[in-house]
Symmetry: none
Subunit: 225 residues, 4 copies
Amino acid sequence: MAVNPRTRTASAGVKSKVEDRALVDRRRRQIVNAAIERFGKRGYHATTISDIAQRAGVSVGLIYQYFGDKEDVLFLAILEVLDSYLEQIPSSAGSSGDPLERFRAAVHAYCRVIDANVDATVLAYRETKSLRKVRRNLIKQKEHETNALIAACISDCIRAGLFEKIDIELLTYQIVMFAHAWALKAWHFRGKMSVGQYVDRGLAVMLNRVLTPRGQRERAPLRAR
Amino acid sequence: MAVNPRTRTASAGVKSKVEDRALVDRRRRQIVNAAIERFGKRGYHATTISDIAQRAGVSVGLIYQYFGDKEDVLFLAILEVLDSYLEQIPSSAGSSGDPLERFRAAVHAYCRVIDANVDATVLAYRETKSLRKVRRNLIKQKEHETNALIAACISDCIRAGLFEKIDIELLTYQIVMFAHAWALKAWHFRGKMSVGQYVDRGLAVMLNRVLTPRGQRERAPLRAR
Amino acid sequence: MAVNPRTRTASAGVKSKVEDRALVDRRRRQIVNAAIERFGKRGYHATTISDIAQRAGVSVGLIYQYFGDKEDVLFLAILEVLDSYLEQIPSSAGSSGDPLERFRAAVHAYCRVIDANVDATVLAYRETKSLRKVRRNLIKQKEHETNALIAACISDCIRAGLFEKIDIELLTYQIVMFAHAWALKAWHFRGKMSVGQYVDRGLAVMLNRVLTPRGQRERAPLRAR
Amino acid sequence: MAVNPRTRTASAGVKSKVEDRALVDRRRRQIVNAAIERFGKRGYHATTISDIAQRAGVSVGLIYQYFGDKEDVLFLAILEVLDSYLEQIPSSAGSSGDPLERFRAAVHAYCRVIDANVDATVLAYRETKSLRKVRRNLIKQKEHETNALIAACISDCIRAGLFEKIDIELLTYQIVMFAHAWALKAWHFRGKMSVGQYVDRGLAVMLNRVLTPRGQRERAPLRAR
DNA sequence: TATGAATGAGTCTTCATTCAT
DNA sequence: GATGAATGAAGACTCATTCAT
C-alpha cells in the first residue's frame, strides 16, 4: 500500500525519540509501510519487529527511535490504512453533478481502494482487537468517517428522488460490508471476476428489488413486525 | 457457545494419544469450548495453553493428550463454530412450506446463531489465517456449505416466482455478510436494536428496490458496462 | 553462603507459579544461593538470569516459575543474607551468663558470619538500592532487627555495671559498621590478620579509652556542645 | 557536588579525542559532575549515557570525545569524589596548633564533606566494583591517602600525649567507617540529628572508655587472646 | 568540535511442548 | 489416563557506541 507523502493523522500519541518532524514522518512512513505488508501477510503476532526492520531496510533499534513499542507500529499501520480510504475515496469518486453517478463512483472507488490493499484491509479487521481500548475507539471513529462518505451519497440520492426513502443506516452498512467483502472473501471472488464486475453485479442486487410483485404481497407480515 | 454432544466433524487429521473414542470426544469438546471462549475473548496468540487448561478445568498436559499442538486446538475450535452454524441454521429455520417464509426464517436463524456467538464468529474471522493452508481450505469449505443453505433458500424463492431472477451468488454473499456484520460491527449495532429488528430492517433494504422509477431510468448506463 | 533448610522469611510477596510449598522452598533456596554467589561476585546488573540458571544447574525458564522477575531474585537474595545474620548471630554467640562475655561473643559471631559471607554482605550494601522502596524498607527493617541484637547486649552490660552509661545507639552503629567493615574493607584487612584478631583489636579500641587523662581535660569544650 | 576548577587527578589513563587540555578539563568536569549526580541517584548501570548527556547539557557524541567508554566516566567520577575529600578535609580541618583540636576538626570536616555528598559517597561504595582491577586499585590508593590524613592526626595526638598508645590502624578505620556511616546509614541518622551532633556523640563514644573499672577487670582474658 | 541518528549485540521474559511420576 | 514441573527457543526492547554531517 503506497502511503501518501503527507502525514495524514498526527502521531496520535505515539512518542518518538527523534525531534526532526520531517525525518520522523519519513521514517515512520517507511516503517509503517513495511509493517502493513508484514502484518497483512502474516498477522500482527506472527510478525517480529526484526521482520519489519528487515523489510523496511533499517535496524531493529531504529524502529524504537520512532515508536514506543510494537503496538504503536500496529496502531499507526491501521490508522494509515483507514486514512488512505478516507482520502482516496473522495478523490477517486469524482464530483459528478449527478448524485446517482456520484454514489456509483464512490462505491467503485471504495472497492478499488480495497482491491489495491486487500491485505491491509484484512489487517484492520483482524488486528484492531490487539489495540488498547482508546486506540480501538479511535479506529472506530475513523471507520465512522468513511461510512459517513457513503451515507452522504445515499442521502443525496434520496433527496434527488433517485432512491426511495429507505433505511440509510442499514444501506450504508450494506455497502460498506459489500466493499469489505471484496477483501474478506477475496479467496472466493478473486479470479472469478474483476472489481468492476463485482461492483456492478453487487449494485444491481442491492439497488433493484429482489421481491417480485407476488413476493411483495406475501412480504406484508414482515413489514408488520 | 454450547457444543452439541455429537462430534460433528471427524477429528479432521488431529491426532490424539488416547484411544477411547468416546473419551476423546468428551475431552475435546471440553477443551474446545474453553478455547473458543478464550480465543474469542483475547485472540489466538494472546491466549496460552495454560489459559485454556485452566478454563477447561484440566491440566496443561491433558491438552497434549488430545491435540497435537496449539494450532490443532484453534482448528477444531473454528471448525466447531462453523459446524454449529451448519447445524443450528436449518434446525432453527423451520421447514415452512412457503419458500419466502423459509428464507426469512433462515436469515433470522443465521443472525440469531451469530448473536449467540459473537466472539466465536469474530474468532473465525480473525484467526483462520493462523491455520496452515490445508486447514484454511477446509474452513472455507465449511463456509461454502453454510452459504449453500442460504443459496438454496434463494433458489427456492426464485423458482416459486417470489424472487426475481437475480444474481444468486451475489445475493447470497450479501446475506452472509449481513449476518456476519452483526458480529463484526457489534460495537455499532448492539444497544441500538435487537437482532430481530436488525434482520427485519436489513431484509427490507435488501429485498425491496432502492432505486425509484426515475433512478431506474438513469441507471441504464450502469447495466451497459 | 550455605542456606538454612528452613524458610526463614515468608516469600514476602514474591509470587511462584508452583504450588507445592516444599518444592518452592527447595528451588528458591537453590536459585537464591546461586544468585547470591553471582550477584556477590559480579553485581546485580552484570549478572544475567542465564548466569544464575547455569550456576544453579537449572533452566532459565525454571527461575521464572519461582520468581516473578529478576528483582524478586535479588530481593530474596538480600533477605536471605540478612536472615542468616539474624539467625546465626544469636546461635553462635552462646548464652553465657556474663553479659560482657555475651557481648564479646556476639561481636565475634557477627564478624565471623560476615567473614563467611563477604560477597553476600557487600551485595546487600551495593544492591539494596536496586529494589523498589517497599522492599528497601523491609530490608532496613531486617537490619534494625540485627542491630537490636547488639543493642540488647550493650544494654545488658550497662545494666550489669560493666559498661558506662554511654550512647547505646551510637555504640551499636559503631559495632555494626565495625563488623561490616570486615567485608567492605576486606581488601585492606584480609591477609593482615584473622577475623578473631580483627575483633580483638577492634574491641580493645572501642571499649577502652583513647583519651589520656590529659586529653580528657582538654576535651571538656567538646562535651559542652 | 561542586567540582573544583583545578583538575586534580591527571586523566589517569582516560583517553580523549580532543587535544586542547583546557577544553578537555572543562568538558570532563562538566560531564563528570552530571555523572556523579546521575550515578549517585540511580546507580551506574541504571544510568544511561544519554541521561548524563542530558544532565550535562551536551550531546551523547560529545561524551565519547572526552571519554573512551562508560566505565571511564564512572572511573573519573569516583576519582573526583575521593579527590574532593582529599582536598576539602585538610582545608576545612584548619591548622590549629593543638593536635586534639585538629583531630576533632578533621573528623568534623570529613563528615561534613560526606554530608554534602551523600549520594556521591554511596556511589563510590556501590560502584567501585564495576571498575576493572587496575582502576579499583587506584581508587583504594586514594582512599588510603584520605585515611592517612586521619591517621596522621591520631599519631600527633599520641605523640602529644593526648591519646593513649592505641592501635592506630584500627582507630583510623573506626573513624573512617564512622564518617562513611553518615552516608551509608543516612536513612537512619538523617532527621534524628545534625552532622555536628552526630560527630560529637560519635567522638564521645569513640574516645572515652566504654568499660567501667569493673568491666575492665573482667576484660583481662580478652587481651590474652 | 559538536551533534544525534543509526546500529545491533545482549537481556529479560514468555510460553508451547515434553516427560517423569 | 492425568498431572504439572521443567525446558529452551524465540521475541520485544534497551542502550553503549559509532560516524556522517
